[in-house]
């Protein structure tokens, strides 16, 4: 007898997320990118990375989560594959040498634009760390939808062809991988065709969400609802619900929420930790200066002096109702309405994380209506086919990733 393990769905929600902002450079200049301060200058020096790792591993008692996700973002992280490789080798060695509890439970995670995924150095890194990797390639859907936003800087040329060629290789290495799709105002007409296109590429899990920024135009919510309903029809009529998932449709969505029993914060900022090229620590990458339009960076320490725990107290005591305006507290469809703490901070009237941005309000309500339609239609169909019970047993859930 031999033995095999299946580890999909690894430790979701139980892990500490630690992000290295290895570069602020990217080949692309996506039109919806929240990183307003991208540049080619700020690359993380090895010494900063090493100091950050030493600080974090030295403070094991303060980071008691059972597992850790070492996250690498940019810009485009794979532009710094040599640095990342060195960081990962040091992490593995040091976690083991110190007998750190995270050696038993860690992942290296990447969100990449996929352009240089096939390159030798990247592939060598993947081979070397295969059992500890989580890699997401961002592809927005059909070529016209993808190229609407995800264009090369300078030339403005669409990047679809350079990404899609790497999808088969990626899926052969990570068959259960999902992709993350971001919807802005101009993308709404392409939602249905894009999700279906991603399914056709073999991507079974599409995590999709509307941007939190105030970009929405009048009527966008109706168009959005229409697109989602058409997508719902296509998924149900095509039987795609059996093997594919789209995070827009969730059974945990659209109910009122109680301010006592359901008062937890949505966002994990503060429970996460990010470090940039300067060696500054942030509660999440969204609080680094290159992510902020209006506000100064919210720095919670640095690799030399450590973390100022007072600056984490607001994040760790923040709850849903304290930051929400009355209309959100009283909202009849509040469940599943997301927010980004960084965007809240950036859009707030004062420098606070306690003022929830509601730019997404109408879009959430449209999503709830389409979601209701989806489940009512699907369950009716399943019941008519006497297939509801079987479906419940094997249904595919998404992780509802929103940032």
């Amino acid at each position: 007898m031999s033995i095999k393990e299946n580890d999909k769905g690894w430790q979701s929600g139980m892990a500490k997320n630690i992000t290295f902002i290895v570069t602020k450079d990217c080949q692309l200049a996506c039109k919806y990118c929240y990183l307003v301060g991208k540049n080619t200058m700020e690359r993380m020096p090895w010494e900063v990375a090493r100091q950050a790792i030493d600080y974090i591993l030295d403070h094991e008692a303060e980071m008691k989560e059972e597992s850790v996700v070492w996250d690498f973002i940019g810009g485009e992280p794979f532009l710094e594959i040599d640095l990342i490789d060195r960081i990962c080798d040091y992490l593995k060695t040091e976690m083991f040498r110190r007998g750190h509890h995270w050696f038993n439970s860690y992942r290296f995670s990447f969100s990449t634009n996929g352009i240089n995924y096939h390159e030798e150095k990247v592939q060598r890194f993947i081979e070397k760390n295969r059992s500890h990797l989580s890699i997401g390639i961002t592809i927005d859907g059909t070529e016209r939808k993808h190229d609407l936003n995800r264009v090369y800087k300078g030339s403005g040329r669409g990047s679809y062809q350079d990404v899609v060629r790497n999808i088969p290789l990626w899926l052969s290495q990570f068959p259960d991988a999902g992709t993350k799709v971001t919807i802005s105002s101009a993308d709404i007409p392409y939602i249905k065709e894009s999700v279906l296109h991603l399914y056709s590429l073999g991507i079974r899990e599409v995590n999709i969400n509307c941007v939190f920024e105030d970009v929405w135009q009048e009527g966008d919510d109706r168009l959005f609802e229409q697109q989602l309903m058409e997508l719902a029809d296509a998924i149900i009529d095509g039987g795609l619900y059996e093997d594919y998932a789209c995070s827009f449709f969730s059974e945990r969505l659209g109910k009122p929420l109680d301010c006592v029993a359901q008062n937890q914060n949505w966002c994990g900022a503060g429970r996460m930790l990010a470090v940039d090229a300067e060696g500054n620590f942030y509660p999440c990458t969204r609080f680094a200066q290159y992510s902020l339009r209006e506000k100064p960076a919210l720095i919670i320490g640095n690799v030399r002096d450590g973390i100022d725990h007072n600056r984490l107290r607001p994040f760790l005591t923040l709850d849903r109702c304290t930051q929400s305006p009355r209309k959100c507290i009283d909202c009849e469809v509040a469940e599943g309405c997301a927010w980004c703490q960084g965007e809240n901070y950036d859009a707030a009237a004062t420098p606070t994380i306690f003022q929830r941005s509601t730019a997404i309000c109408l879009m959430h309500k449209a999503r709830v209506r389409a979601n209701n339609y989806y489940w009512n239609r699907l369950f009716r169909k399943l019941e008519l086919e006497d297939a509801r019970e079987a479906y419940e047993k094997r249904k595919k859930e998404t992780k509802n990733v929103t940032c």
């Binding site: 007072n310 600056r311 607001p314 005591t317 923040l318 707030a348 004062t350 994380i353 306690f354």
Partner: protein, 313 residues
Amino acid sequence: MLQYLVILLDDAAASFCHYSSAGRAPRPMPADVLRRGIRFAMTENLNVQFVYPAGEVPADVAALVESVDHVKIKPVGAPGPADVTVVDGFDGLPAEPAEGATYVLRTDRAALFARRGELAPVLARAARLNLVLTDVERFADADVAAYAETLDELAGLIAGQYAAGRAPQLNVLNDRLLLTQMNSCGAGETSLTLAPDGRFYVCPAFYLAPDATPVGSPDEGPAVPNAQLYRLDHAPLCRRCDAWQCRRCVWLNRQTTLEVNTPGREQCVAAHVEREASRRLALRLREAGIMLPGAQEIKKLDYLDPFDVRETW
């Protein structure tokens, strides 16, 4: 709801709280600004507190002050009578404190721990003493024992006064005995400050800060952005806390945690040392047969920082 208006009669007006006004160049409040401030206070039914500098104020200002019911807060040695006398450091304590007066003593931890015995004459004569730790933002776990010991010694002095038939109040010991809810300074909610520049600020500290941000004026009215964050119900830690004597200083909150509604660990720990010392004072008074009307029992806690027990909420 706004109830108090603090009016700084000069840029160099005395600090009666955690912030420092040392080194500020004198700049008296212009009479027309003061007039508008007083009119605003009257129309809004506000209690007015005038804060004075060390020297004389201009005659027209002095005259305007008397046109409204008020409280005078003056640094020790300033000319004329005061309702509240502010003493900056132990060296400024009067040799013979005034009978029945109210004093504010601003001191750092080291001086308080070393010179606490010098407070005996004040507690023997004054009606009230407000202690303000000027470096409370650096209150360390290593200070807990020394502060507790200091407060116990001061509690002994107070108990002695009670036994002698006097009832002096020391804010950090007596207030918790009689309060039934949080008694914050109220900056930004029940209180605003009018500065010599003619604008409202959340409190004097927000005016003196390098990034001073006004929140309205007497002509435009108050305009505090995110005003809800100054209320207790929007302070996740404080609304569950019963260290009711805590000043809950929104300025210190902003300095330490970057949020006006969230205190740093140091403020919470110092307040809980005071709460526990108040509990011991209550027991001491009860054992001596001294009953305080309206005093509530204070439960013993096994933590000094409510943040440490947030998972149990």
